[in-house]
Symmetry: C2
Subunit: 580 residues, 2 copies
């Protein structure tokens, strides 16, 4: 078998050499365009010969297919250096359908969310379902599953669990090391993970870390960061040798803040990444192509922008055949209408035309979803969300519109016959987090201000990072209706009112991903959002807000299935304030 | 055992983090200098904390040793991306003694010459003797041993022979693929070697290759070239994605020709290499430091020059902890007196001061030389070099002063009683190549014009690429005396006259390397050269000229142990011209 593989590869090598010398017809010729040469830093006219998916030269005699590309500019395919595909709520094939026509031909995924639900099986599913696509998919192994032990996750992935995957050829290292206290205070399990990835790469995630602590973090071998939100932060990290992954996600947007730092002398240290980007943003604005356009419209040299969007990530990740249009490189090429508008009009993957006018033309092979229910919940009834007042003042989560941090408020809740109830006048709603991985029966109960719902309830199984079911509502019956609908669908987004489901979007894969297209998912989210807004919610993106209410690593006050967390103190606190 | 190694490494990791946070005293603080930050492209004041050989930060509280470096500029240690240490005729430790004080802290060697003599054992010797030095030594495996079958070499290294070494951590790939016809015409053994190195790197060596053939060569995965001798050649190779290793050796000097091509936008694709650099040049001019100074004095931005001399090679070879002064990087640092004169005044290797004022201060551990004689010669006498005239005209090698190419001349040799003898009036001398690897008894006989010797003979066992013994002389007796002295010394350089040895330099390691210091070797070469010149030789470097007379891949006419080679036709030709 090994012999057979070697002989096939040998044939490929011979064919490439032979086609480059015009001893045989090349598969394809891209004729008439200008190419962005990310290696020499130039733009010039060149006809690109492609054979067996590789660029073989620029002086082709004859080709099986000739594509007339006069007037166009060819760029190497774009690379997203750090992305959680789960944030797009679609499968990898459907993600490819959306981003490939926009010029992205390679993504380095961090399957952190699905790993929190399904563990190693989730990572394997993402890797397996991403084969044979017109998109190169590499993975970094989630380093922090779970992010904390303050919520119940579907899996706990220690270094030993990850060790079985680290040698996979498509696994490039360890993903965003969010547990920076674990690094700088030398948690043995964290160091073990770092050791595991020593021969590969370790991505960082260290918002606001600075000075000696940052030096310590970098000294541990962590060589990138995508959390820079200011020029000064990026500058310090750049000087310490980190690759700066400039992020333009849906919630976190850093491109315009970081861009002024980029110069021709330091540009090699920058990458473009999307991190978390929602369906509507990908469909409306774009993906890495959007970052290229935005950067150029703000003054960055287009050749540098394209290099940052392609070659730099390839170099950082050691992907030697990606990021340039040159002999031996994979023929992953974006056909741009020009360097002014920088719009992808066609996309060529491994030498084949796979997308045209923003649509994937290549067939997609679908992949079976992971088996087994991911909604394991102990029997619930409306009483599950009922609780009595213990003291006059309660700790209430205060929403800040458009942000994922919250305030910790102290307010007297509305009480009806000693039972705490929602108070629509003061916009204090009931909230619950229902554990769904192990049917522990854990239900975290709390109160939240800022959703604006006047009736009904909403629920979601997308709830960072452990993705239990989080619900907010005016009526406990509607909260139950919504949660049971989430369970019935195997996960998803739900709005309920007066015992009826108003809107829903099923996310049956791990409770995180739809099996539908990104367009359908975007439409589903839009409908659920509208239903919530119809019930009085005045948040722009209520389900995104909801999905971060249970993340106990983001200040100030969060609710998990285990209870209320004061994130500034990293400890559980009672809902009611005893000394009030 | 594995557990133990892991635990030791874990301790290192913990220590680095701890020292970076100033929880413990750092080993060393480099205080008061400016640093060249090759990553951010800046120069600024910074105190560098070093612990356990690594940089850990720039904000140190206390350190065991404080070096006051006020007024100095710190650069990352220089990297020579392609060097045959054999050309310096010293062992690796002695090479380190010479180049480390000049700022070179890493070399990527191609042990091509010693491999031609000793095969795998020679490569292993170079790797083994380069451990525990104040110099990082990595190797590329010689790809073309022997370069041709037109001479007898000491070893034949096919892909199978190399496969045992390719996984060695210090082996970075396959060295200069000189056999470009083998690549583009798809010689199975050549493709097998390329396949072997597929996961690592393959360096190129393709002088003047252009157009489709160059594309074919690059398509095979060959990603660098150090043979560019013109701007146009370098530009074409750069556009095809090759890393351009700018070479400044002793014979081949390309720096000033290629330099105008370098811009901030493409500088990432350039490296500095020495390839073949002789003792006197290293000692008098310098090594990579010389290239940096020369480039800067010709207008290159010093920060770019330093980046090319350090980070670029590290990036090309995937050496993630080299090429920058940043946390986690090895503390291999050159203390320069400033960016104007760019002279190394001190060198720090793995955090320790190892050289000061051009002298190595660190102790060197010597390494035992390879065992076994490398001069296996069948019994010779003066008659071994005698031959009769067969026709009136002979093919005579015509020396071109200062070059390694020769002319093929047709001249009537001087004949005495039907025996061909030297003719000092017309400067036609006798020449022989004596096979010395297998005692085959092969002796190639010929004539050469241009040495100018009026008496005596010279001989050397440094004779590219197979390193048989080559001798040129007026007197056959002196040729014998010289060759026997080479044999007696186990290899080396000899000048003989009237039966006496005038000068000699022993090179007992594989007939290529001395056991002495570079200074002593340079002195030995100078003496041998002077002796040859005293006998009338008017060549500047007669032993270098001599060492290329048997290399049958450089035009036009060469002599090997197998006979006279017409290199333009790649075939053996008779000494005498039948139709004349």
């Amino acid at each position: 078998m090994l012999l057979l593989i070697q002989s096939v590869l040998m044939d490929l090598l011979e064919e490439l050499i032979s086609a480059a010398r015009c001893e045989m017809e090349a598969d394809c010729l891209l004729e008439g365009a200008e190419i962005v040469n990310t290696l020499s830093g130039e733009l010039y006219r060149a006809d690109v010969a492609v054979h067996k998916g590789r660029v073989v030269g620029f002086d082709c005699c004859s080709a099986g297919v000739v594509l007339d590309l006069k007037g166009a500019v060819l760029s190497p395919g774009f690379v997203d250096g750090h992305v959680h595909i789960e944030s797009a709520m679609v499968t990898v094939p459907e993600y490819a359908r959306a981003v490939v026509p926009r010029g992205t031909t390679t993504v380095v995924i961090d399957p952190h969310e699905i790993a929190n639900v399904l563990g190693i099986e989730g990572i394997r599913y993402m890797l397996d379902s991403s084969r044979n696509l017109p998109l190169n998919v590499y993975a970094m192994l989630p380093s922090c599953v779970p992010a904390t032990d303050m919520e119940t996750s579907g899996a706990v992935l220690g270094a030993d669990a990850l060790s079985g995957l680290i040698k996979d050829k498509r696994v490039l290292g360890l993903a965003e090391m969010m547990n920076y206290p674990g690094v700088i205070f030398r948690d043995p399990e964290v160091l073990k993970k770092i050791k595991l990835a020593e021969e590969k790469l370790i991505d960082g995630h260290a918002p606001k870390l600075t000075g000696r602590d940052l030096s310590a973090y970098v000294s541990a071998g962590i060589r990138s960061d995508h959390e820079c939100s200011s020029l000064e932060e990026a500058e310090e990290k750049l000087r310490l040798g980190m690759y700066i992954m400039i992020r333009e996600g849906s919630a976190a947007k850093n491109l315009l803040d970081i861009l002024p730092l980029v110069t021709p002398l330091n540009a090699g240290q920058f990458l473009f990444v999307s991190d978390d980007r929602h369906p509507a943003d990908i469909l409306q604005e774009g993906h890495i192509d959007f970052m290229v356009r935005t950067a150029v419209s703000h003054g960055l040299d287009p050749i540098l922008a394209i290099r940052i969007a392609s070659l730099n990530a390839a170099r950082y990740f050691g992907l030697r055949n990606l990021g340039a249009i040159a002999p031996g490189y994979r023929a992953d090429i974006v056909v741009l209408d020009g360097l002014d508008s920088l719009k992808a009009v066609e996309v060529i993957k491994d030498g084949k035309l796979v997308a045209k006018e923003c649509h994937l033309t290549a067939p997609l092979i679908s992949f079976p979803s992971p088996k087994g229910a991911s909604m394991k919940i102990k029997i619930l009834d409306a009483g599950s969300f009922a609780f009595k007042s213990e003291h006059s003042l309660a700790r209430i989560i205060g929403i800040i519109s458009g942000q994922i941090i919250t305030k910790s408020l102290s307010l007297p809740p509305k009480v009806d016959n000693s039972w705490v109830v929602a108070d629509t006048q003061r916009d204090i709603l009931k909230m619950a987090v229902v554990e769904r991985h192990k049917a522990t029966g854990n239900i975290g109960l709390g109160l939240v201000q800022g959703f604006g719902l006047q009736a009904g309830a909403m629920a979601t199984s997308v709830a960072h990072d452990s993705h239990n079911i989080v619900t907010v509502g005016v009526s406990e019956e509607d909260m139950l209706t919504a949660v049971l609908k989430v369970k019935e669908m195997g996960g998803g987004l739900v709005v309920a009112n007066e015992g009826q489901i108003t809107s829903s979007l099923a996310l049956p894969i791990a409770g995180l991903l739809s099996e539908k297209s990104m367009l359908e998912v975007a439409d589903g989210i839009r409908q659920c959002t509208k239903s919530a807004q119809d019930l009085g919610c005045d948040l722009k993106d209520p389900f995104m807000t909801l999905s971060f209410l249970s993340l106990p690593v983001i200040p100030e006050l969060k609710l998990t299935d285990k209870g209320l967390v004061d994130v500034t103190k990293f400890k559980f606190v009672p809902l009611f304030m005893e000394n009030a």
